[in-house]
Amino acid sequence: MLLDTAMDFCSTHSPVTSVRTRIEEESDFSDDLWRQVIDLGWTAIIIPESYAGLGLSMTDLVPIVESMGRNLMTTPLVSSTLAAHALIEGGSEEQKNTWLPRIAQGAIATIALAEAEGSWNLKQLTSFGTRTNGKVQLSGSKNLVENAAAADVILISINLEGEPVLALIEKSLIPDGALTREIIIDETRRAYQLDLDGIIIDESMLLASCCLKQIEYATLLLLCAEMAGGHAAVLNVIVEYLNTRKQFDRYIGSYQALKHPTVQILIDMEASRSHLYHAATIWNTATEDELEIALRMAKAHASESFAHAGDRAVQFHGGFGFTYECDAQLFLRRALWCQYQFGDEKYHRQLLAPLLLD
């Protein structure tokens, strides 16, 4: 079972001590760990066999990303996979031929959809492209781009003559100083601002189809997997502390004020897993409405409940919870990041309303 393998690998290779080491380091991730991920074939999972991949489904990545989330493991696997997914869905044959085999073998790719305003509406773009003589001149900036510094290729969204389009920027085209590291709440991740001003790409770098919806869905699925893993892990952090810490001569886990909310965190986590694996199960077969409902339900539920679990984890650790040394904060930060990327619970519920009620 893929889940067991993935869980073993991630817990062995990303113990919390190494997570803390990574936070301190300059590089965006561990090259060594990344090499092993490639060797496991995970980068090739969703790439079709015709492009030298394994020809499996996004669904097969879910248990892997869940395990990574459980261990706060960071590699470019998710961002590369999402970029590959965009190429599969919307790329030209030439783009697929050029990039998919390379991504399968470990080339790093990422997606750059967000902008300074932080809008979750992916079609609301203030970075622009202007066509001239087979070239596209870019302007504006993209924000919160994960793993951008290491990326061999970045998939960006821009407003081209009033329409949102996707385009590829190869590493070689990014001028010095165009990437600036951004400070984000989840310190295990690396995010960058990408200044587009002055970058000119060839028209052949534009994707044939603007598959923003497909990218959004895949991102939601993998974010939910990451959150389900994180939620399970932070629950364990809480339970461990409740079973070892004493106050007033009793294990604090015997106090219902801590025990009962922890039970709710368990229940919420189980629901997150249920929503996640439901979405994963129907990924390949559902109608678009069914899939959209499943994904937005999963994201809405997980966003709220993982963030709540992180919040309670800090509180239930008392004074220790207030320190950087306590692992609770790592999960709270992770939860907040995931909550506010690609729509929080209110946002998704509002998009669900017409699908469910009207």
Binding site: S254, L266, E270, R273
Partner: protein, 400 residues
């Protein structure tokens, strides 16, 4: 025994047609949602007749052994019947304790005599069963039961009282947990289990008025009631163990039930349906963004619960805490129902303040269901006790 898909399909069509034909229809009064809410003779008789009709048509106890009155067929047939009953929302099978708890228990560990004596009457609803576990002073603390059963020659003399005996005044038998000894090594060791007759002198079920102003439960007093010694199930001192086995049936954690629809619970789709036809202040309630959001929240929560059971079938997704889903089921389901019934009132604007009667929306069933929802958040271990159980048994936290 393998059954062909075709056979099942035909069977489903047959059942479906039969139910459509025989559905007893609107009785002209508000029906209870489950056996715990049967409060009037007219409700009871309507429901007993219906169960009897279903049984005699061969659609109840289909997988129970034929020699005791069952159908002797594969379980899958009964499951189809139950599904169709739920789909068509016909009334439920009112002898719930007999069909789902006492019956499976007797089939599993009863003697041949017991099986012969009890099973058929359970299915036909001729013999209604009730349960005597809880006592007035020890709500959630079953093991502390104080009702005494003292051996006297061939008989036992029962004294004390039990509470929350649904169908108490209609029942012919009770599954009774009583204390045969007080000097065991612990409180559990002195308990014994009886299949006890109700229609004997000294057994006095007194209806309790519920917060809904309706009846539906009894307090059953035992004033030195004499019952035959053969009523004991198993041996003296085995009561706790048998009661725990019974609770496994009650919680649905073990199969073997007679089947048939057990309740007509309102569910989240009923709330949605209500929301769609409700107006608040002259506008459709579903135009109100706060109502919309709350409704979506409920749908997400209900969907999460609905997905739990299929998910538990995938072992890898449940390896860390395999009992988490099953042990939290009552808590999740009953608390959700309480909250969505509250919400249903809020859809009714000023009419939320009405109660069961012709002018209330849907005859006041939402108000009544909200009040009745407490029987599930309290009975069978309060939600507070459920959280202890999940915290201790699933998460391994120390006892409170």
């Amino acid at each position: 025994m393998s059954v062909s898909e075709q056979e099942l399909k035909e069977f489903r069509e047959e059942v479906s047609a039969w139910l459509k034909e025989n559905n007893p229809g609107d009785p002209g009064f508000l029906l209870p949602e489950s056996f715990m809410e049967v409060g009037t003779d007219e409700q009871f008789e309507y429901l007993r007749d219906w169960q009897s009709k279903v049984y005699h048509a061969g659609y109840l106890g289909m997988a129970w052994p034929a020699e005791y009155g069952g159908g002797g067929k594969p379980q899958v047939f009964q499951d189809i019947v139950t599904q169709e009953m739920a789909r068509q929302r016909v009334p439920f099978m009112t002898n719930t304790i007999g069909l789902n708890w006492a019956g499976p228990l007797i089939l599993s560990r009863g003697t041949e005599d017991e099986k012969k004596k009890y099973i058929k009457g359970i299915l036909s609803a001729e013999d209604i069963w009730c349960q005597g576990f809880s006592e007035p002073d020890h709500g959630s603390d079953l093991g502390n039961a104080q009702t005494r059963a003292v051996r006297d020659g061939d008989d036992y003399i029962i004294s004390g009282s039990k509470i929350w005996t649904s169908l108490g005044t209609y029942a012919r038998y009770m599954i009774l947990l009583a204390r045969t000894s007080t000097d065991g090594p612990n409180k559990y060791a002195g308990l014994s289990f009886f299949l006890s007759p109700m229609k004997v002198e000294g057994v006095d079920p007194v209806p309790i008025k519920k917060l809904t102003s309706e009846y539906g439960f009894c307090q059953t007093y035992f004033n030195d009631a004499r019952i035959p010694g053969t009523c004991i199930m198993g041996k003296e001192g085995e009561g706790w163990q048998i009661a725990m086995e019974t609770l496994m049936y009650e919680r649905g954690a073990t199969g073997g039930q007679a089947g048939g629809l057990a309740a007509m619970d309102l569910n989240i789709n009923d709330v949605l349906e209500l929301a769609k036809r409700s107006t608040r202040n002259g506008k459709p309630a579903l135009e109100d963004p706060l109502i919309r959001d709350r409704m979506v929240q409920f749908l997400i929560e209900a969907k999460g619960n609905a997905l739990m059971i299929p998910r538990t079938r995938i072992t890898a997704l449940n390896s860390e805490r395999p009992m988490a889903v099953a042990m939290s089921g009552k808590l999740r389901g009953t608390e959700l129902k309480r909250r969505f019934c509250q919400f249903a009132l809020s859809l009714q604007a000023a009419n939320g303040g009405r109660f069961v009667g012709p002018q209330a929306i849907d005859g006041g069933k939402w108000q009544r269901s909200y009040f009745n929802s407490f029987s599930a958040t309290i009975g069978g271990g309060t939600s507070q006790v459920q959280r202890n159980i999940v915290g201790e048994r699933v998460l391994g936290l120390p006892k409170s």
